[in-house]
Amino acid sequence: MRLSRSIFLCILAFSLILFPTYHSPAYALEFVHLTMWGERGVSQGQFSQASGIGIDSEDNVYVSDFAGYTTHMIQKFTPNGTFILGFGTFGNGPQYFTNPSGIAVSANDTVYIADFGNPTYAIKEFMPNGTFIRSFGSFGLGPGLFISPGGVGVDKENNVYVTDFGENTNVQKFDASGNLLMSIGSPGRGDGQFNNPSDVAVDSNGNIFVTDSSNNRVQKFDASGNFLMKFGAFGSGNGQFSSPIDVAIDSSNNVYVSDSGNDRIQVFDNNGNYLTQFGNNGAAHELIENPVGIAINSQGAVYVADGRDADIHVFYPIP
């Protein structure tokens, strides 16, 4: 009798362990595909390789073209995709781009763009009209230096956070003037360590979320850079990732992750609990493939750069 009870308790404990992994909860949020724009090309509104997305205070949308034509490598659109202007020219210099990647827009509408291909001028700063302000961050290993600057995030104090996808393998925080404040992380698989960190976002409480791409997880740090928690592992189930790329945070501090290898966007609460996913069901034209950049506007609309089809998808939360 005692043996049977032990076996029962063992099975019960085992089931409880498996439950969070395989259980599919009812979605707390649902999203509908609202619109899309863009295609492969070199004209206005076209992209060679759509990459990062940023949104300003007027909900205008900035898209970086990783392999863009030699002009207008950054394009600015209205919320519904009407082309406004293009800026960013190929070249070697503080104001020029090689391979623009992550974009973040601060509360005062300053646009920060990482240049993956030219770490000598790692982060470029522009005004909303495309006027160049300055660049900061340079090539190398160590504080304030980059090998492959990837993702950019800003906090409410307009501090700038940049991931180094390359050998520095960390996140570096700068003030609004480009002065280095701190760095987070080192190469590895442990807590607080990264393997190809690809993007960073900061919630309203100053907590820092980093997509740890090759470790297939997201890590959360406090405002001082102390490790708080991690969520995700390799896989295709709910809450699992296959090469997560970008991360964005909505007004409720929910965390959105472009799950590139699984062709979907996953949404988590601020503690990393899985909430929902979208982009991987619906009509064929509504599907996203290899999602890269992701950003959320003031209305909660989610903009996703499709890395495969070189277009932008807009999803809207169902009230």
């Binding site: 043996l3 076996i7 063992c10 099975i11 085992f14 362990i17 498996l18 992994t21 060679s48 390789q49 990459s51 990783f66 392999a67 030699t70 190929f90 070249g91 070697n92 210099g93 020029y96 090689t98 391979n99 993956f116 291909g117 030219n118 000598t120 190398g140 290993l141 160590g142 504080p143 090998i147 492959s148 996808f165 390359g166 050998e167 520095n168 080192s186 190469p187 590895g188 698989r189 360590q193 393997n195 190809n196 690809s198 791409s213 090759s214 470790n215 297939n216 592992a233 390799f234 896989g235 189930g237 296959s242 090469s243 790329i245 590139s260 290898g261 290899n290 890269v292 890395g307 495969r308």
Partner: protein
């Protein structure tokens, strides 16, 4: 009773192994589709020499390309693959610094001679010069061992601005995947013992 216990034990063992495999699978896949060497880029280096074999100009800059996987040649004056470069030039004493861009490369043909580990991409490009852009300049890009490109710009078409026999090299920068985990101690020491210091 023994069969019952054995069944439960087997169930737990198999289930546990399946769970462990699910949770601890280590992803080795490249995280970004656009970093699968479709797009390559890196710094430029080179020199030009005068008639006395003295260094005339020092060349630097950056380049990027999507030619490595391109086998389609031009149609209606456009290429599937692209090649762009920004070439900085200055005298050995640091004076006369200026920049030329090589853009709008149109691939006319490509070849990979056996046994060379090199691929030649021949075409034309636009080269910015002091008097404005020079169009349809014969240009050849040689990619060797996926590590270096040699950029040849027809000297006669650009008034020998890059010298009589320009040798302009581009180093292929390779974003590191997983490699950064091999030597985490040295990485924490900044420039010490890192791959960049060699």
């Amino acid at each position: 009773m023994q069969n019952y216990v054995a069944f439960i034990f087997a169930f737990l063992l198999i289930g546990g192994l399946a769970f462990a495999a699910l949770v601890y699978h280590i992803a080795m896949a490249l995280p970004l589709d656009f970093l699968d060497r479709t797009y390559v880029f890196g710094p430029i280096t080179g020199i030009t020499e005068d008639e006395n074999d003295n260094t005339d100009w020092v060349l630097a800059g950056i380049w990027r390309s999507s030619l490595s996987n391109s086998t389609e040649t031009s149609s209606n004056n456009t290429s599937v693959g692209t090649f762009n470069a920004a070439i900085d030039m200055m005298r050995p004493d640091g004076t006369a610094r200026h920049t030329h861009t090589l853009t709008d490369f149109v691939l006319l043909n490509s070849s990979s001679p056996s046994g060379t580990n090199s691929t030649y991409f021949n075409g034309t490009s636009t080269v910015s010069l002091a008097n404005g852009p020079a169009l349809d300049i014969p240009t050849s890009i040689k990619l060797s061992n996926d590590n270096i490109v040699n950029i040849w710009i027809d000297p006669e078409s650009v008034e020998r601005h890059f010298g009589e026999s320009p040798t302009i090299f581009g180093i292929v920068a390779i974003p590191e995947f997983e490699r950064s985990l091999e030597d985490p101690v040295s990485m924490n020491n900044g420039t010490q013992n890192s791959s960049l210091s060699h």
